[in-house]
């Protein structure tokens, strides 16, 4: 059924349709509307056979989900940014224990300095924890991916993170097609755990594993993600058959046939990228784009196939590896191993800075003319940066950058003492 609702609400309804049994919630901007929506549905009796638990921290939230999942209940939670870091220990624990928990990440920057706006640094901080990471391009895809995520998680016994851009998607009203309960039930069977805490068949879960078996356990975790490379497209195809639309999968290509320049990105910015691609194609430029949906497992083969004929690849990322360069770029470079083409890393949108059509147009034209640096920070305020660097060369004691910049800008709040 078509609805015009907030992205968070769409996700909450999709979760509810997936018959979760235990939902644990701790508030953090910008995911809070999701769990608030779910809490309301449980309290009002709309979502039945579901326990909604208000916990005292994100660490507790994922821990409650771990206990619930290990005991055979379909468990869900959501977080962002600082909250994801606070539960980091539990994130690794859930993956190591093979628990099919689904968690929404309302993508938000990580401090210091504190920032509530969107970028991908939070999900990226947990990229090697062993969770499957799927990135939604639209609110429709966000709601669809959650339904797919429960199925994926339970088939593989692997937790899944569904990542959606904070504010840009979570707080946007969009038109979405909400499936019916029967459709979801046909796609998502009840949870049947492989190993469960059961008094009839006692097992001990979570024992220490020493040097004699640890490497094997970790190898098998890697292997599990490699199996996901097959399962993710399969589920997406099955989803399309049953629900009638493209959602999920490993990557999505847009006008890449014959493209000389291909832009690679994750999440909602793909929409804006596609607008610019259309504009430039209309003007005769051979440009296309690829949206990565499955970031973990990283789709090396699919990307290679999509990108290898291009002359240049521009990786547009809302994250970066401090002191090294691009994170997504690293994976793309890996995928293109042995292939000679020009690669550009563009770090954009950090801390919620808008990525505009106009900026992207300029950027892609510069790329096309190969007038781009190897690594660029899009729309960087060069004055602010050079001013700060200048100040730092004159003083031995530098201190926190953000506060120093504020002082230069003369913001009253920073004049303390």
């Amino acid at each position: 059924m078509l609805k015009q609702i907030e992205g968070s609400r769409a996700v909450a309804e999709a979760i509810a349709l997936s018959r979760p049994q235990v939902i644990c919630a701790y508030p953090i901007t910008p995911q809070t509307h999701i769990v608030e929506g779910l809490g309301e549905m449980v309290k009002a009796g709309e979502l039945t056979d579901c326990e909604f638990i208000n916990v005292e921290s994100e660490f507790a939230a994922l821990s409650v989900a771990i206990g619930a999942s290990a005991a055979g209940a379909r468990a869900y939670t959501a977080t962002s940014s600082q909250g994801l870091l606070f539960m980091a220990e539990a994130v690794y624990n859930a993956a190591g224990l093979g628990l099919p928990i689904v968690m929404t990440i309302g993508n938000r920057a990580i401090g210091a300095p504190i920032n509530i706006w969107n970028d991908h640094s939070d999900s990226m901080s947990m990229r090697d924890a062993g969770w499957i990471q799927l990135f939604a391009e639209t609110n429709q895809e966000a709601l669809d991916l959650h339904i797919q995520a429960f199925r994926l998680a339970e088939e593989l016994s692997c937790p899944v993170m569904v990542c959606m851009d904070g504010f840009i998607l979570t707080h946007a009203y969009d038109r979405v097609d909400m499936p019916a309960q029967e459709q979801v039930d046909a796609f998502l069977p009840p949870f049947e755990p492989r190993q469960v805490l059961d008094t009839a068949r006692p097992v001990s879960i979570g024992a220490m594993v020493g040097p004699e078996a640890f490497m094997e356990v970790r190898y098998l975790a890697h292997h599990k993600q490699l199996r996901a490379l097959q399962l993710i497209p399969q589920l997406s195809a099955e989803f399309k058959q049953q629900f009638g639309r493209d959602s999920g999968g490993l990557i999505r290509t847009y006008r890449t046939e014959g493209a000389e320049t291909i832009v690679v990105a994750l999440g909602s910015v793909n929409g804006t990228v596609q607008e610019v691609v259309d504009e430039m194609r209309d003007a005769g430029t051979a440009i296309g784009s690829v949206g990565i949906c499955s970031f973990r497992p990283f789709p090396l083969v699919a990307l290679r196939d999509a990108l290898q004929q291009a002359k240049r690849v521009v990786v547009l990322e809302k994250c970066f590896a401090v002191g090294l360069g691009g994170i997504v770029s690293d994976g793309v470079r890996n995928a293109l191993s042995g292939i000679q083409l020009k690669g550009y890393t563009v770090v954009a949108g950090l801390g919620g800075r808008s990525i505009t059509q106009a900026s992207l147009r300029q950027l892609f034209e510069d790329a096309g003319a190969d007038e781009l640096e190897q690594m660029t920070f899009l729309d960087l305020n060069a004055d602010m940066v050079s001013g700060e660097l200048e100040r730092e060369t004159h003083g031995r004691r530098t201190g926190p950058t953000a506060e120093a910049i504020l002082r230069r800008l003369g913001t009253v709040g920073s004049q303390v003492g």
Partner: protein, 330 residues
């Protein structure tokens, strides 16, 4: 003829396998049908108080619930010595997640039991003093506040033993640990203000809080059984001597635990909804010295020049405890 008053002491309390009692009055441990939930073959040290306490507690809980228990364990000695991969000594469903989240994981398990209709299956969370009073404190408080149907058992051996005897917030004043060494002008642990988790648990107004000791099996079994008859958040704090960490003889574990109780340093009491409802009075009080002397972690207080001032401080703590909980026997 002169008459002399003779006092007869009942021996049942101190004798685990007392055959003077009817079968249905025997302790769980004396019963041939006991579940042995923590089976032999684990790797605990000789004389480990925690292994003893855990077996006592879980077997009592199993009898009380007709063997319908799931256990959640924090990282620590109990978890490590009971599950050396690929073996396990646990005969019940058991999960170890992390160091600080046992209470939260247990809340999750309890929720799963409710939502899957298994209302007769009960959940026990267990951890050492490190995992309970320090790193697991937040999750513990959260579980209490929500009144989740979980019994949390803390096995208190007064330090982080598994990692090599480091100080925790449960380590008593003057005790030597690896991070509070017995050197310098102020050897051993500082005096501090203390962190009484049973009292903190009471402050959450949960249905049941109790302290217990491996020296008093009957009392421990009674309290665990009583706890399992209650729904909601419950907390039992069990004092468990650690021969390795305390520097005591493995054969002295129960004796030392008894001395802790009889000196007043470890009061035995029960509380419901924030009010003390019962206490075990001390029949024959002992001065703290008798307790401290058996442990090398307090050795620096004795010797040629005993630290009488600090011993007096410890004695004062014991006196206060006895007064506070009304432990003076007749």
């Amino acid at each position: 003829m002169e008459l002399q008053t003779v006092k007869f002491y009942q021996t049942g309390t101190f004798t685990v396998g007392n055959r003077l009692l009817a079968e249905n009055e025997r302790s769980v441990q004396a019963n041939m049908e006991r579940t042995n939930s923590l089976n032999s073959g684990h790797r605990a040290c000789q004389g480990c108080g925690e292994a003893l306490g855990a077996r006592y507690a879980i077997d009592a809980a199993m009898r009380a619930t007709n063997s319908r228990i799931i256990a959640v364990n924090a990282t620590g000695c109990l978890e490590v010595f009971s599950t050396p991969y690929p073996e396990t000594s646990w005969q019940i469903p058991w999960i170890h997640s992390l160091f600080g989240n046992a209470a939260a994981v247990a809340s999750g398990v309890a929720a799963a039991m409710r939502v899957t209709g298994k209302n007769d299956v009960r959940v026990i969370a267990q951890g050492g003093d490190g995992g309970t009073t320090d790193i697991g404190f937040g999750c513990l408080s959260g579980m209490f506040e929500r009144n989740d149907d979980v019994l949390y058992i803390c096995y208190d051996n007064e330090a982080y033993m598994n990692t090599g005897v480091q100080r925790s917030s449960a380590t008593p004043p003057a005790a030597r640990t690896a991070t509070t060494p017995a050197v310098g002008p102020d050897p051993g642990n500082v005096a501090g203000t203390g962190k009484n988790v049973p009292l903190i648990a009471m402050a959450h107004n949960i249905p049941y809080v109790a302290t217990a000791s491996v020296a008093n099996l009957r009392d421990l079994e009674f309290k665990v059984t009583k706890a399992m008859g209650i729904r909601g958040a419950r907390y039992i704090h069990i004092h468990v001597p650690c021969p390795l960490g305390w520097g005591s003889a493995p054969a002295d574990t129960i004796r030392i635990a008894r001395l802790a109780v009889e000196s007043g340093l470890f009061p035995l009491f029960e509380a419901e909804y924030g009010e003390v409802t019962g206490r075990t009075k001390i029949r024959q009080r002992v001065p703290v010295d008798e307790y401290l002397k058996l442990q090398k972690r307090f050795a620096h207080l004795f010797g040629k020049q005993p630290d009488t001032a600090r011993i007096a401080q410890i004695q004062a703590t014991a006196d206060r405890s006895i007064a506070r909980f009304g432990l003076n026997g007749d």
